[in-house]
């Protein structure tokens, strides 16, 4: 019990420190624009950046794409100042407990939370059900109610669609749908499954570029089940004081896009492989007469940026882990009881799946680099603590006694004898941590921490295998190998030659 308490206190202290540091380092001099991890959200964020910049307001959309719940968290914590959200998501998901019926009620509710929203941007991006045109034609399905006669159909839905009260659970009841094979999967992969014939029907967003691209039939919601999803710019009320011209600037986006236009913009990114910033700038230029300088990142620049971001995640978390884990390992080896507590605590941290550990950090530290570093730090502790402990523990008793009998004080014994003798084991632990760390850091893409996880996430939403492989997976593997190589070199320099000799003679 005491052990768990010590562990928890240690953990919270570290988390709190990270939080305070982050708060102190906050920069309020520009508008931080967030986006969710799908193309439309990124394009709209770029458009917002365009109109704000045009109005002389410094704004930055930092290529950080977040999972839906995370962007909501982030705007409420002030980690981002605005992002584009959908009325349906706000009313039926994020604020579902408040049972809001009208847009005005939503506006009032947001106001109590220090948030505001613009009027809708024009198009609707509702949920819908999509099938391949030829399948639908063959089975004679036009409306959702036609599905009742085809119980054998295989449904694949995005995870939020499976889970949300206003989606699959009630849709099924509303239309009395008989299908049993309904499972969750990643939305972008579901399109591939549909085209490959691995399933028959998926949920779609009505502005998805795939609808046109793959020739999908979106079934008519004849019993009016799906709520209306209209995009609005959601922003923090304090922006109005910080940047007085912001509301008129945002107003220019209201009603500026229809459904067809949005679908085309999505398609230009997804299928023409244009960058969202470029697509947004084009649109602003031709429709609102706004000229924006878009910085288009070449793939080399992106690779360098991702590499640096990834290295930063690894370097900071690993350095911190070494600084903390080495002394913990020494204490664990010196004091048996405390040692058991330490080993158990770091061991438990390691049993938390890396994805879950990352998720736990979000409520504590928000999104971005800090929670990712914290999670990587915690993850890197065990191999170092355990190997330090094992290395010190395995020192032969004659050697230990000889050091004591010489009359060397404790610190000198530790630094002149014990740590050098354990150095091989310690270095092996650090090397293991480093390699795990490089791999795990790629998960940082999920919580907007940058690095090689970012192109993997973005590539997934754009179904861009090239991007996933060449900007994400391959460089991450190469980096892992390079790190391993670097540590092997370091090992040769740090581990004393006498320990690397054959001991059998």
């Amino acid at each position: 019990m005491r052990g768990i308490a010590i562990g928890a206190v240690l953990f919270l202290a570290l988390a709190a420190t990270a939080g305070v540091v982050g708060w102190l380092l906050r920069d309020d001099s520009f508008v931080k624009i967030g986006s969710k991890s799908f193309i439309e959200s990124v394009i709209l964020a770029e458009m917002v950046e365009g109109v704000l910049t045009d109005a002389g307001i410094r704004a930055e959309h930092d290529h950080v794409e977040m999972q839906a719940q995370i962007s909501w968290q982030a705007i409420r914590n002030g980690e981002i100042d605005l992002y584009v959200e959908y009325t349906g998501t706000l009313m039926k998901e994020l604020l579902v407990e408040d049972h809001l019926e009208t847009i005005d009620a939503l506006r009032d509710q947001l106001a109590t939370m220090g948030l505001r929203m613009t009027h809708p941007l024009g198009f609707r991006n509702n949920y819908g059900l999509g099938m391949l045109e030829q399948t639908a034609e063959r089975l004679g399905i036009e409306r959702v109610s036609d599905l009742v006669d085809h119980p054998q159909l295989r449904f694949r839905f995005s995870d939020p669609f499976m889970a949300r009260e206003d989606c699959w659970p009630t849709l099924r009841k509303h239309y009395a749908l008989p299908q049993h094979d309904a499972r969750g999967m990643n939305h972008d992969l579901a399109y591939l499954a549909l085209v490959d014939g691995a399933c028959d029907l998926i949920d779609v967003y009505t502005t998805d570029a795939e609808i046109e691209h793959f020739g999908l039939r979106v079934l008519e919601d004849d019993l009016h089940h799906f709520p209306v999803y209209e995009p609005v710019v959601l922003y923090r009320a304090d922006l109005v004081e910080r940047f007085p011209g912001i509301e008129p600037a945002l107003k220019r986006l209201e009603g500026c896009l229809d459904q067809q236009q949005m679908m085309q913009l999505n398609a230009r990114v997804k299928y023409d492989k244009r960058q969202p910033g470029e697509v947004a700038a084009d649109y602003l230029k031709h429709n609102l007469g706004i000229e924006v300088d878009v910085e288009i990142e070449t793939w080399q620049q992106r690779l360098v940026r991702n590499t640096l971001e990834h290295l930063r995640l690894v370097a900071v978390s690993l350095t911190a882990a070494i600084i903390v884990a080495l002394p913990l390992g020494v204490v664990a080896a010196r004091r048996k009881r405390v040692g058991q507590v330490i080993l158990a605590t770091v061991g438990i941290v390691q049993t938390i799946p890396s994805l879950a550990l990352l998720a736990f950090m979000v409520p504590l530290l928000g999104v971005g680099v800090r929670p990712a570093i914290m999670a990587l730090f915690l993850y890197s502790l065990l191999p170092i603590v355990r190997n330090t402990h094992a290395g010190l523990h395995d020192i032969p008793s004659q050697v230990r006694d000889s050091a004591s009998a010489l009359g060397l004080p404790g610190a000198a014994r530790l630094f002149r004898v014990e740590l050098p003798m354990a150095s091989r084991s310690i270095m092996a632990g650090i090397k293991t941590s480093a390699v795990i760390n490089v791999g795990t850091a790629a998960l940082g893409g999920l919580i907007a921490a940058g690095g090689f996880g970012q192109p993997i996430m973005t590539g997934l939403t754009r179904l861009d295998m090239q991007m996933i492989v060449w900007q994400g997976a391959v460089p991450a593997s190469i980096l892992a190998l390079a790190v391993q190589g670097a540590f092997e070199l370091a090992e040769r320099m740090i581990v004393p030659r006498g320990l690397r000799l054959d001991q059998t003679r």
């Binding site: 004659q398 000889s402 009998a405 009359g407 060397l408 002149r416 006498g498 003679r505």
Partner: protein
């Protein structure tokens, strides 16, 4: 010089050393002998403070061994164990110099002292740069001895120093050790399980059994005036190995 006053030591239920007193006089050579588990190593380890007695006290040069003076007392003692206990990550030179370097001796003082010790122990100078893994068993023991003698200790404690050596090297080192003891005239306490070795090195033999001293005295006293049948038994058990009996020993 060294004094044990009513010391004892137990681990859980096992008694390692019963209440024991022992006096080691200046410049004497004492051998602690007895079968395995008799407490002979416990006594030496107690003398250098690796084991704290449950009761009683250890005195070195008149002062009682205590946590506070342990380091300074140890620096005035030399300790050699079986297999040498050398630091495998340090060269022979560094092994010998470790404590002196920690005490910030000037480099030439260290070098001079080590040169002197290589002469004394007949250790090849070229071997100083080698690591323990690159040395033979006998060479390792010589390095260990140099390390113990580096600070000119008042007492030299040897715990089965020749235990792990093959017979030829053992013989060679025995002869050298005997000469070294004679040249240095320091106080020596030597642990062995070999009566021949004890008789060869020491002025006085302390025979132990089951954590208690059975008899102490010269070899002749032990042979001629055994205080207990065990003494004769122990001597005969070893003597019978040699066709010539005790003559072969002395």
């Amino acid at each position: 010089m060294l004094q044990l006053l009513g010391v004892s030591k137990s681990y859980d239920q096992t008694v390692a050393l019963q209440r024991t007193s022992l006096r080691i006089t200046n410049s004497s050579i004492t051998a602690l002998i007895g079968p395995s588990g008799c407490g002979k190593s416990t006594i030496v380890r107690m003398m250098i403070g690796l084991i704290a007695p449950d009761a009683g006290e250890v005195r070195f040069d008149g002062t009682v061994l205590h946590d506070d003076n342990l380091l300074s007392v140890r620096q005035r003692m030399g300790y050699v164990i079986q297999e040498g206990g050398l630091f495998p990550h340090l060269s022979a030179y560094r092994n010998v110099a470790l404590l002196a370097r920690h005490l910030k001796w000037p480099r030439d003082r260290i070098e001079n002292k080590i040169a002197e010790l290589t002469e004394l122990t007949r250790f090849p100078r070229a071997g100083l740069t080698r690591y323990p893994a690159e040395l033979s068993g006998g060479e390792r023991q010589r390095v260990s001895l140099m390390r113990a003698l580096m600070l000119d200790p008042k007492v030299l404690l040897l715990d089965e120093p020749l235990g792990a050596l093959d017979p030829m090297i053992r013989f060679e080192l025995q002869t050298d050790l005997k000469r070294i003891f004679g040249e240095l005239s320091t106080t020596v306490v030597l642990v062995t399980h070999d009566m021949a070795e004890a008789a060869y090195f020491s002025d006085r033999i302390v025979l132990l059994r089951k954590g208690a001293i059975v008899q102490e005295g010269t070899f002749d006293e032990l042979v001629n005036n055994p205080s207990d049948p065990f003494v004769t038994q122990f001597i005969n058990a070893q003597r019978s190995m040699f066709p010539g009996g005790s003559e072969a020993i002395s």
